[in-house]
Symmetry: C2
Subunit: 761 residues, 2 copies
């Protein structure tokens, strides 16, 4: 079935390629039938429906009023097309960015309101660009591996063309054939050629950059009806002479030898069958706009391609996936390079949700998200959504526990998300055992983050960058992104001998991925995710198993975290927990230094201040803290030789680029095989208004590893009331129907399946 | 007029004293006319009105339902009266605290719902206490200067009696005379005696502790109709033998020789005529409940005292004062020892607002606060408020710029609050030039804090304590409150030679206060507050003048901060700015150390890490940061010898009791007279969702002191567009009608009044 679908798409594509072979890049659109515009995103039929509904669809009307106010203000301000000069955050960058956003909106307003002032504005802007483009040199800022002309990187030039193509489509019929010819000859075709033929290292890749480039060329090709450019967009440049060892600014490879490129390859490769995009949710969000807007355009202009069915409907699937990759506030998990705070309120997700609703079978849960967003696209899709909301069709979007496989065929590890309701908020565990994630990947195999509602309990640091804030390195990636944010020690995962996974080597990391061992969210009282990593440190295998457990003795679900490390060598292992807030108590003695020194000299350790070291003789180290008015206690099994380190980010940070946030690091030394076994409780709360401290103490008296061999590990949790819970995990066989039996403290324990959870008394 | 009022109150009091001379402490209530109960807070008439309105007043009904649910759950749980053992946060402390809160509520429910189960519950609890009290020793925790029996300090025992008196009043008629006699003999009278005669060092003071003690004794006296105890409550113990050098746990003096004590003295002395309570808003909030609830009881039982008119109606005035001492979120400015986050949503402010509305002339603005609180008292006052809200009488409570004088007669400095609307939120400057503030005072003469909406831009650290969190020093004041929070360097004020004001000596501090020089909020475009301090450092005068300026060239109001320091000696001066957030840029070079050392060894400096030091050769040091998604830039006039220090709280903090927040410190060395002149801009914003950085740069090109002598200082602010603003301040004469003239850069500048503000071009 799948094969046949793929085959039919391929046949269509071959046809497209065949037809386009005769096209010439320098020719303008071969088809002058202007009657059909707009047809890219807005359609003639859609415009009619919209006009008919104006005033009757509250959210649509509100979005329209907002856009109109914004564009009217810009029209009053007048058109500015400055000679490019600045990095992101600077005037010329922000101005050109605003121009393409406003041009697209003005085009839409022209169609919907049928008011020529908007068309005139777009026309004037287009000709202002047409005037400067032919003589524009490459952008003066030299940092990018692919410099644009309007912007410092081709990526932003491509953004421009994606939006301006839509504006052009909207005013196509307003312009005379002569005007169109002039624009296409002097602006659009050279523009498309520059970001493709002129920058193959940008265009011919599998990367979000290239997706933008491909889509930019594809969008203008569809408006101009230029098959050659469309083929280039879909399938890439035929030749590029890219050195297979070449890398981009982020350290990512440009292109593997023989790799397929173009829009379709960018759909094939980075998207898994579950709709997970290998770079992570932040970049998936960024890429979704071009992916979906071009898909919509292809659907409208080339319906025979059935683009929304491509790869088993991966594009539509990816929208739901992306929505599931958010916390309770709708903010994306900052896996890999992700800027915190980016959320499904972004314009890319407004368009994704609208397109997903319109072309994906009117899923009523998407209306709930759209309602939260309070904004819709001013096109057929936004109208559908606004009407759906108006008509009360919205249903809650309930995020569930789920596993998202990584890799084009879903075989390169993945991300496991467990969710469970607590006393007040939902708890979310995000477990990462994916592939490298291209150039935006971090060395964070088997890392995780943990949320209570919209608050991070244990954080993923995200990226070291202030996107678009010019003063901070031009708004681009800071050196600390490499020296800190990507390093293993910056994550809640095991670090061996103070070196990062794969020794921080991108090529090695790119060849490997973790492997899921177990994912089972079927029992809401004991959800589990488990994965193994055997390549990050040659000779060492790490196996992490995490449970979210609901138990009557605890106010909130417990996070049980078990890391089994087996190694042929003797090593030092560090496991950090990046918590937030104020330390309330510990059950062990520690010393705080009079003078703070960095915890190490490289691999990220140089960025951590050592704020204190302790040891525990009780078998357990307990640390409690208060964050967002709630108490948390981490209990972890230790021996008296383990170091318990209080650390804080911020050493060797001469420009104060890092956030000075704390970590608690458990260090096990001079050991080969070992386990890190920890339980994190969320308990009680504190209000500075009532000044009541409710349930401020841990419920755990003792956490113990009661059995451990190469096949099994068993943990007991004893509560302060003397109740005992036993958790056993089979480490080598995760089959659901496999029967197991072991002797723990002279008692036989028998069970079926990969794990066992029992209240003993 | 005032004098006559005072005189009449005194006459009434003399009468009370006269009558009570014949009373004997051990006698029970002389009046057995049970028909009049309840009459303390609830009244028989009030109960009738409440019953008549039940079901018709939404907020009252909601509050009643909430209280009923809470009490019903406690009744199900059963009564627990454990033998006292714990500090605050511990089980016995929290249980006894819950008991008195629930008992009071159960009493109210009995009256309103006429359901005997509530009376039975109160009765059972009272007798449970009656059973243990006679043999209870002093509380085993020894930390307090006045240990209680149920709690570790008499303060909490007094809280208990204030609430339980109300419960007793409500069930008075439910009990038989014999039962009442037993309770009064074994519980109430010994209890009242213990916290008064048994602890004169607690009872006979001017302090919030004593207010609670006085009111506790007074409330039970009113219920029992015991005039001797009532006199003791109003006027204190006749003899106490308190050593005039004795201090309490917070380092405050117990009592000055010959000082008046008792409830009325506690109204006379710490309240200024403006209703400002010298300990600061956090403790004013704490004291308001006993002040007002006893006033209400006196009003009901002894209407002839006209307590609400006492001291020109200061109690009712204080309610509005307290509401004005909050930020946009209703949180109190944490002046002196104040825990952040405490707000007008606290139960003390619910009662204050209700009582203020009912007895203070039905001010409709209070209804707006009550509406926000969403909760009312279950008595006559709460009913009035709920009816007012139901009937739509609420009007917005608009906080204005105002000066609150400190000191019993208003002559001991004060607090100046300037408020002005910005582009998005209101800006609030809180300038502190008050007296010491008793034992909860900080050494922070001429300090200030600054808010944008509900967010702190420049913070007052507040206290070093986690109130009621047992793990943190029993929930009590931590040693860092003394070593850090009270010290001058912990505040946004000038510190000379790394010593605190008054050398951190409480006695000296208590003898002195700053002096207001100028407060003028009449011109919304240029509001000003100015004060002088000449005792904090003998031989040195500090004069701080702060403007909030609205100017067309700036997106938001500017804070202009001018500190003139004159000294007969050569000193080092430090001026810290406790900002929040992430540093974005600076215009000067600085070095960050490889290893962090404390900035000093004592007076709070031992708690600051030195994270970097720079110098500026341009005449201005500029620092920009991003906090709460907004940009801020501080521009300050410096010379190349001034040190620009990046500091962070947290050194020498072995229990991690401090919050690791940053400061920027301007240090001027080896100098006698000097000025600190700074402008703080709030500009633009950054959204992680749109990733747009709007107006991310300072608008100031140059800040300059263009004139300075002993009489005048003139500042010019040049914008990046070349516009020039001139601000001149007369330093020695603040008269409104005084004409001034000086020559600045060969040009005569003439004006009338204390200051001059002009756009030059």
């Amino acid at each position: 079935m799948k094969f046949i679908k793929k085959l039919s798409v391929l046949l269509v594509l071959l046809l497209v390629v065949f037809v386009s072979c005769k096209a010439q890049t320098k020719s303008i659109s071969k088809n002058d039938n202007t009657q059909k515009h707009p047809n890219l995103i807005l359609t003639q039929k859609g415009v009619e429906s919209i006009r008919a509904e104006l005033g009757n669809v509250p959210i649509f009307d509100a979005s329209l009023a907002k856009v109109k106010a914004e564009v009217d203000a810009e029209i009053l301000n007048g058109i500015e097309v400055p000679i490019p000069k600045d990095f992101s955050g600077g005037y010329t960058h922000e101005r050109h960015k605003k121009n393409f956003l406003i041009a697209q909106k003005a085009g839409v307003l022209y169609q919907i309101l049928n008011d020529e002032k908007y068309a005139a504005y777009v026309k004037e802007m287009l000709f202002a660009y047409e005037k400067i483009y032919p003589t524009l040199p490459v952008h003066p800022q030299t940092r990018s591996y692919a410099r644009g002309k309007l912007f410092w990187q081709c990526l932003n030039d491509s953004n421009w063309l994606v939006y301006v193509s839509q504006a052009y489509d909207c005013v196509y019929n307003y312009l005379s054939p002569k005007e169109r010819k002039q624009l296409e000859k002097n602006l659009f075709i050279p523009f498309a050629n520059f970001i493709s033929e002129g920058n193959p290292q940008f265009f011919n890749r599998v990367h979000n950059h290239s997706t933008w480039g491909n889509v930019a060329v594809g969008m203008i090709a569809l408006v101009m009806d230029n098959d050659e450019l469309l083929d280039r967009a879909l399938n890439g440049l035929k030749t590029d002479n890219i050195d297979p060892n070449a890398k981009d600014n982020d350290g990512g490879f440009i292109k593997k030898a023989g790799q397929k490129v173009g829009f379709l390859a960018n759909l094939d490769e980075p998207f898994s069958p579950d709709g997970y995009y290998t770079e992570g949710p932040y970049y998936q969000r960024y890429a979704m706009y071009p992916f979906l807007v071009f898909a919509e355009a292809l659907h409208n202009v080339k319906p025979e391609m059935k683009i929304f069915e491509y790869k088993d409907g991966v594009l539509l699937k990816a929208i739901n996936t992306l929505l599931n990759l958010t916390d309770a506030d709708g903010e994306f998990f900052p896996l890999n390079d992700g800027q915190k705070g980016m959320s499904y309120y972004s314009r890319e997700l407004v368009s994704s949700v609208d397109i997903g609703y319109h072309y994906g079978g009117n899923q009523p849960e998407l209306l709930a998200i759209a309602k939260d967003q309070g904004d819709v696209l001013l096109d057929d899709t936004g109208l559908s959504v606004a009407i759906g909301i108006r008509d009360g069709l919205a249903k809650p979007f309930v995020k569930k526990s789920l596993q998202l496989r990584d890799g084009a065929d879903g075989t390169q590890g993945g991300v496991g998300i467990l969710r469970v309701n607590g006393a007040k908020d939902e708890f979310t565990l995000v477990s990462k055992y994916s592939a490298q994630g291209l150039s935006h990947g971090h060395y964070d195999k088997l890392s995780f983050s943990y949320y209570e509602g919209g608050n991070e309990v244990l954080q993923d640091y995200g990226l070291a960058r202030y996107v678009n804030i010019q003063q901070k390195g031009g708004g681009n990636y800071l050196r600390e992104n490499t020296t800190w944010a990507k390093q293993s020690i910056a994550h809640n995962t095991v670090v061996q001998n103070e070196t990062s996974h794969f020794d921080g080597d991108f090529e090695t990391g790119s060849l490997n991925h973790s492997v899921n061992y177990l994912f089972d969210a079927s029992n809401l009282d004991a959800q589990v995710v488990s994965a193994k990593e055997s390549n990050a440190y040659p000779g060492t295998e790490m196996h992490r198993t995490q449970f979210l457990l609901k138990d009557k003795d605890f106010e909130n679900p417990l996070l049980l975290d078990i890391v089994n490390v087996t190694s042929s060598n003797v090593n030092q292992y560090d496991l950090p927990f990046y918590y937030f807030g104020q330390i309330i108590s510990s059950n062990f003695k520690y010393n705080t230094p009079k003078v703070l020194s960095p915890l190490g000299s490289k691999n990220g350790y140089q960025h951590l201040w050592n704020e204190g070291v302790g040891n525990s003789t009780s078998g357990n180290a307990k640390l409690s803290w208060l964050s967002n008015e709630r108490f948390y206690t981490l209990t972890t099994v230790v021996n008296d030789k383990d170091d318990l380190i209080f650390a804080r980010i911020g050493a060797n940070d001469p420009d104060f680029n890092l956030r000075p946030e704390p970590a608690f690091i458990v260090r096990k030394k001079d050991i080969g095989n070992t386990q890190f076994v920890s339980v994190l409780e969320s308990h009680g709360n504190y209000s500075p208004v009532t000044e009541n401290a409710i349930n401020a103490f841990s419920t755990i008296k003792k956490l113990e590893v009661v059995f451990s061999d190469e096949n099994y590990i068993a943990i007991s949790v004893e509560t302060i009331d003397g109740n005992l819970k036993l958790i056993v995990v089979s480490l080598k066989d995760s089959a659901k129907d496999k029967k197991h039996s072991i002797i723990i403290k002279d008692k036989a324990v028998e069970w079926t399946g990969a794990y066992h959870f029992n209240n003993l008394k």
